[in-house]
Symmetry: C2
């Protein structure tokens, strides 16, 4: 799981919102997730990700990409495609994917300048 | 926290991705979060939300809206503005907000028709 926020990227960029409910047990999920985190770093235009999972509940992973080409490059990675197939076969009860173009963004940091730059 | 996936909305629609790191303790956060969930339901064009938080770590809430007007209506709710101010004063170490237009989406349900409709 990520433990930092992705902030400060200049729009426009893309986000891929992946929300999921897992099956029981690990079944090799953790190992593959770690591999995917490494591989996606190699994609030109990959900007970062954030991930959270409520224990026993919903998981949300948000990936950030500069443009559609970067998303397409990640989608076409064979290891990613293999992981997706295994996800459907073993790891996920259900998932949803939303591919979206970020039009604006802002952030807050305690002890920073106070109000967000945009709202 | 939500425990269901938002799926099946026809694009285009908007998503607001809110990622955060909390301060220690509840400080009235839970009560206000419950109130916000009720109030946002009253916004015309609000389509749903998903939320997850890794214990002691990152939280991600994703809201879905039909259009920019719906987002603007939610942003202008006084109770929401008050909660945002209190969030900066008390509840959040840091947060980021990404407002994005969803161009495509797809979903998977175990025991469903197998392959996602789109990829």
């Amino acid at each position: 799981m990520s433990d930092h926020l992705v902030a400060g990227i200049e729009p426009p960029y893309y986000t891929v919102v992946f929300t999921s409910l897992r099956t029981e047990g690990d079944r090799g999920y953790g190992e593959t997730a770690d591999l995917m985190k490494k591989l996606v770093e190699e994609i030109p235009g990959y900007l970062g990700y954030e991930s959270a999972r409520t224990p026993g509940g919903l998981g949300i992973t948000v990936g950030y990409f500069r443009d559609e080409d970067a998303i397409a490059a990640w989608r076409s990675r064979l290891e990613h495609q293999s992981a997706q197939r295994r996800g459907r076969a073993e790891w996920y009860e259900s998932y949803s994917v939303h591919v979206a173009k970020v039009e604006r963004s802002y952030s807050f940091q305690r002890g920073g300048t106070g109000e967000p730059a945009d709202s």
